[in-house]
Symmetry: C2
Subunit: 309 residues, 2 copies
């Protein structure tokens, strides 16, 4: 009965690579009976990274308790972002770089959280502290998560440590990570191949804010016009999902990764959203979010504050 290691629902590159890396860390620690799994299939960006480094995608699980008593979490801690039957298993460890909410345990556990660009950045530190081996492939995977979460070190979540880690990973990986990283990010912006439903759900996370359920999705693009051209259909899909799931606010953020700007579409309780950014939704149904690229640092905190008022 292996201990399962996984990241959040709607997995992104950091979550998938962090699960793989933490399983490798546990093995080097002597815990050989662990398996990296995922709560969904890789998105196009992540698949690009896995293909590039010739690593198989982790097995997808729907529930955990049917096959194990013990799990370890990476890149998330909030219950609604985790496996649906988490309450039935023991959480032995968490490695994460998000706020803490909707998380509790009956027993002491291992937790390693830092306010840093990616979960992979923390894992890199943990490998180094123990003197564990990092293969070129593992370095490439860790860099992929770091690049994805920080938009190639351009997001405001990027710390000095992240830049140093990127340089060290560059050495180990032995490839031009900046060039690779831009290709990987662009692979994730191929919107033509994605359905409206996939766009509004692909990177979505639910948050509790002042007793309300706020759903926030983020989609990267190299041209916001690609999103505008599909806006009516995207908003219709959002409305259907909001009605079905009962979100109080549903926000889809389209981020221009080349110019580091975002635009939001929102349905539901939009007043706290407009208050949070001191910006009105315009006549075209768009909320300008200039300079915003990080959900975690630039959206969730201010929106939480606005909802708790």
């Amino acid at each position: 009965m292996s201990t399962l290691i996984f990241g959040h629902k709607n997995p992104d590159t950091d979550t998938i690579t962090a699960a793989i890396a933490y399983a490798e860390y546990q093995k080097q620690l002597g815990n050989t009976d662990v398996e990296a799994v995922a709560l969904g299939t890789p998105n196009e960006e992540t698949q690009f990274a896995l293909d590039f480094f010739k690593v198989a995608a982790p097995r997808v699980i729907e529930t955990a308790a049917n096959e194990t008593d013990h799990v370890m979490l990476v890149d998330h801690n909030e219950a609604q972002q985790s496996v649906s039957d988490r309450a039935k298993v023991t959480i032995d460890a968490v490695v994460d770089h998000h706020r803490v909410a909707a998380f509790e345990t009956a027993m002491p556990l291992f937790m390693r959280l830092e306010p840093i660009g990616s979960a992979d950045s923390i894992l890199f530190k943990m490998f180094k502290e123990k003197g564990f081996k990092i293969s070129a492939t593992l370095a490439g995977l860790l860099a992929s998560g770091l690049i994805s979460d920080t938009l190639l070190l351009k997001s405001p979540t990027t710390t000095e440590d992240d830049k140093q880690i990127f340089a060290e990973l560059q050495e180990i990986a032995g490839i031009d990570l900046s060039d690779y990283g831009m290709k990987m990010l662009k692979a994730g912006t191929n919107l033509a191949a994605r359905s409206d439903q996939d766009i509004i759900d692909g990177d979505a996370k639910s948050f509790e804010m002042g007793g309300k359920t706020v759903r926030i999705d983020q989609v990267n693009t190299v041209d916001l016009e690609d999103i505008y051209a599909r806006q009516d259909n995207i908003v219709a899909a959002m409305q259907a999902e909001k009605d079905a799931e009962g979100y109080d606010l549903f926000l889809v953020v389209a981020t221009d990764i080349l110019n580091s700007n975002s635009v939001g579409f929102a349905l539901g309780e939009t007043a706290p959203l407009e208050a949070a950014f001191n910006e009105k939704i315009d006549a075209q149904g768009r909320l300008a979010l200039p300079g915003v690229v990080s959900r975690k640092k630039q959206i969730v905190p201010v929106l939480t504050t606005a909802f708790e008022k």
Copy 2:
């Protein structure tokens, strides 16, 4: 406006020494504007340790927001064990070895939790990982917290890491830590000098279990007869506090540190307590807890399970 570093209410030796040690760690990290404070005055055991190593007791604070926006927590995370106005300040960091509950933040933070004997054990690891200097005095303080929380490495919370850390601290401190440790523990068992109210409150913590408020106090002794002789007065004091505070269950555990056994006095919803230990409160109003010395490992988890049924 210094960042305040503190442990839990009703501070014990691990909580006080961990706050002092983490402030020293932050200073070596370059964060010089930090101050170790405490949510209460040291108990007799802790005062023995501070006197022995000639270290002043941390300043006692009642609230934090009146003097700072930022705090760091050691040896606890649950809101009801923390400073009363915690919701008004930002938690930048947590170093702890307890379960996680009643804890959430709006922003990512630094957290370092391990299932290990003491918060001081984790801090020792952190100093070592960074190559930071540990003075003989600091080693003595770290050892004091480790000795206190593990009853000189005899509690079931003691890990192999703790034993190794104890040996390394012995080297740095340059004194016989086993001999010192027994003297320190005995200093904490001088019940004659303590009021009934102090005995039921000195080490007490409140826990949320299945929606109920459970108050658990632990008092160390070298002779349970000293407790039995005062049982009627102790229980009367418990009843008065339970009525005033509205606990659903109030449990005072007296632990014989020489023989590693405990006996409990309980008021309120005692059925889950008896179920948890499969043991009835006897005709003398005592619940036998053979082999139990750790509230965290041997009481809180089973009692939480019993209350959640």
